[in-house]
């Protein structure tokens, strides 16, 4: 495992360049924010393939849907807060209901966008996208998995939402690893004491938490649930059978995200305690990414604490 730090959002421009370099005819719809999303990097090399429709998220989605109606392979990216927030109804009506394979990229999500504050810190995108039938919802943990998922989405037959973050996060996977797909997950550490289901920046926190738990003789199984919808259900259930208890961890509201998806799976198929590490019923605020992670409890120590509580209630 490496300790190199990279931001998942930087994978976007790279994915567009690599796809185009490999012969795919991609169109990227930009909302005058290409320097933040990485679309500008793509536009500078392939100006004809990047369409800047201005700072108008509703229209970004509609234009992308119109392009997809004509069979174009379309990516559309902006700040998650605005693309998913303002564009939600267009995503629902013009992308999800007709089932168009538009790749929606929510960049700079979560509290770790930092100083910009609550308006920019998207914490409900997974919830909004997860409720839409047919929408694949992906929340990669590092640059390599983000790159693979962004590139893989090009061949998707249905709509895809990919959540990216701005703050650099530790590399989890080996460079070039491409074993990621909607509905998939990755067991990063095997264990039989507690299942840690996590996504995004919380994957590296869960791996740190697993080391601490190990010192307490609780072996944690860490699953990178980068596919929030569809969930890697069988992988998670198999783990539940081994451990009998679970903690979920995500940089998202506790409502509607990975935690509730995992809890619903447990309730339906194998009832066990599921404790959540997430942002509970409050918006973000300004601060450094590290401060905010600490303040909102999105840390390894919170996972350890939740794991201890879950373990006490474990199903035997």
């Amino acid at each position: 495992m490496k300790t190199n730090m990279r931001s998942t959002r930087d994978a976007y421009g790279q994915a567009l360049l690599e796809l185009t370099g490999a012969g795919a005819e991609i169109i990227a719809v930009d909302g005058d924010i290409g320097s933040a999303t990485g679309a500008a990097r793509f536009a500078s090399e392939h100006p004809g393939r990047c369409l800047n429709v201005g700072m108008a998220e509703q229209n970004m989605i509609l234009t992308a849907a119109g392009l997809a109606l004509e069979g174009e392979n379309v990516y559309v990216a902006s700040y998650g807060s605005f693309l998913v927030g303002r564009g939600y109804e267009q995503i629902r009506s013009a992308v999800a209901i007709p089932g168009l394979p538009v790749k929606i990229v929510g960049s700079c999500c979560g509290v770790t966008v930092g100083e910009d504050g609550a308006s920019h810190q998207m914490l409900e995108d997974l919830a909004l996208m997860r409720v839409l039938p047919g929408m694949s919802v992906l929340a990669p943990a590092d640059y390599t998995s983000a790159l693979a998922l962004l590139k893989g989405a090009a061949s998707s037959r249905g709509p895809v939402y990919i959540r990216l973050g701005r703050a650099p996060s530790p590399d989890i996977y080996e460079e070039g690893d491409r074993d990621f797909a909607p509905g998939g997950g990755r067991i990063l550490r095997e264990g039989s004491g507690v299942t840690l289901c996590c996504c995004g920046i919380m994957v590296s926190e869960a791996l740190s938490a697993a080391k601490v738990l190990s010192s307490q003789n609780i072996s944690a199984e860490v699953i990178d649930c980068y596919s929030v919808s569809p969930l890697p259900s069988q992988m998670i259930l198999d783990s539940f059978h081994r451990t009998g208890c679970c903690v979920t961890a995500e940089e998202h509201f506790s409502r509607g995200g990975l935690g509730e998806a995992v809890a619903a799976l447990a309730g339906e198929s194998y009832p066990i305690p599921v404790k959540q590490v997430a942002v509970f019923d409050r918006f973000g605020q300004s601060g450094s990414p590290a401060e905010l992670q600490e303040y909102y409890g999105l840390t390894a120590s919170q996972i350890v604490s939740a794991a201890m509580q879950s373990w006490v209630m474990r199903r035997r």
């Binding site: 169109i27 369409l51 429709v53 108008a56 509703q58 234009t63 849907a65 109606l69 004509e70 209901i97």
Partner: protein, 277 residues
């Protein structure tokens, strides 16, 4: 190649009768709003749009985007009249499992090129389609039919800026200027004065015409076609509930539910219109 639909008052009256029958049977649908666009649709499908009813997904067809999705009974009746699907489908409009949904849906209905239902989104979709076609140097055109009521939606104006920015000369926007919104008359809710000037200032070529007069529609389009480069907008003055006197004067703004009695009354008026020919 256009469809076999004849652009006559008679065939428009037949479409109107089908609209009234459909909505009467379904007991649901905005009849007055559908009737205001019948003549525009008959004209478009009869002599403007190049389509193949027996090959709905024909790649070189002209595309049609109905932005005011609630006007779909008129679109369905016209599509059936063109032969996109059997006319019998009209009678299950809005029913469970029907080909013809309460608002247009992609893939369910042959001839429907874009989803609709949420107002104000048609032009944005049409832009995307027009950009794709322009990018591949297709000669196909896109026609989007929007209602004036839905111009309250911000997304329409976002899209209107983009159409001109990209010089979408392959795009024709027809605005059904029936002067009515969801809950009342134009101007009472949000003023939409100087619509022509608004569109001109957004970089469009604009012409006005009578949306119930085929000759006026033809002239309007030919004046627009003489201008090149810019996206084209035809402001078609129409009357809500056109063709049925008690709907034209309906103060409820076209929300009247058609019961058996009003359906018969409406059909009788439309028969008279046919008889006069």
């Amino acid at each position: 190649m256009t469809s076999n639909l004849s652009v006559t008052v008679e065939s428009a009256a037949e479409v109107r009768r089908d609209v009234v029958r459909m909505i009467g049977m379904a007991r649901s649908g905005r009849v007055a709003s559908a009737l205001s666009i019948v003549d525009i649709l008959v004209w478009l499908y009869g002599e403007v749009l190049s389509v193949r009813p027996d090959e709905p997904a024909w790649q070189d067809r002209d595309r049609f985007v109905l932005s005011k999705g609630h006007g779909c009974p008129a679109l369905y009746a016209v599509l059936a009249g063109c032969g996109f699907f059997p006319r019998d489908e009209l009678w299950s409009y809005g029913r469970l499992g029907a080909m013809l949904q309460g608002h247009p849906e992609l893939r369910r209905t042959p001839g429907v090129d874009a989803p609709a239902g949420s107002l104000g989104m048609g032009l944005g979709l049409a832009n995307g389609m027009a950009l794709a076609l322009k990018g591949r140097r297709s000669t196909s055109r896109i026609c989007c039919l929007a209602g004036d009521g839905e111009l309250q939606e911000g997304a329409f104006w976002e899209a209107a800026l983009v159409s001109s920015r990209h010089d979408l000369g392959n795009l024709l926007l027809v605005i059904d200027r029936n002067g009515l919104r969801g809950e009342g008359a134009a101007g009472e809710i949000v003023p939409l004065d100087s619509l022509k000037q608004k569109m001109l200032s957004f970089g469009w070529s604009v012409e006005e015409c009578d949306g119930h007069d085929f000759e006026s529609l033809r002239e309007g389009l030919s004046r627009l076609e003489a201008l090149s480069g810019r996206p084209r907008c035809l402001l078609a003055k129409t009357r809500l509930g056109k063709g049925i006197s008690f709907l034209e004067d309906d103060p409820s703004g076209g929300r009247m539910v058609l019961d058996r009695g009003t359906v018969d009354k409406a059909l009788l008026e439309l028969e008279k219109e046919g008889d006069l020919l």
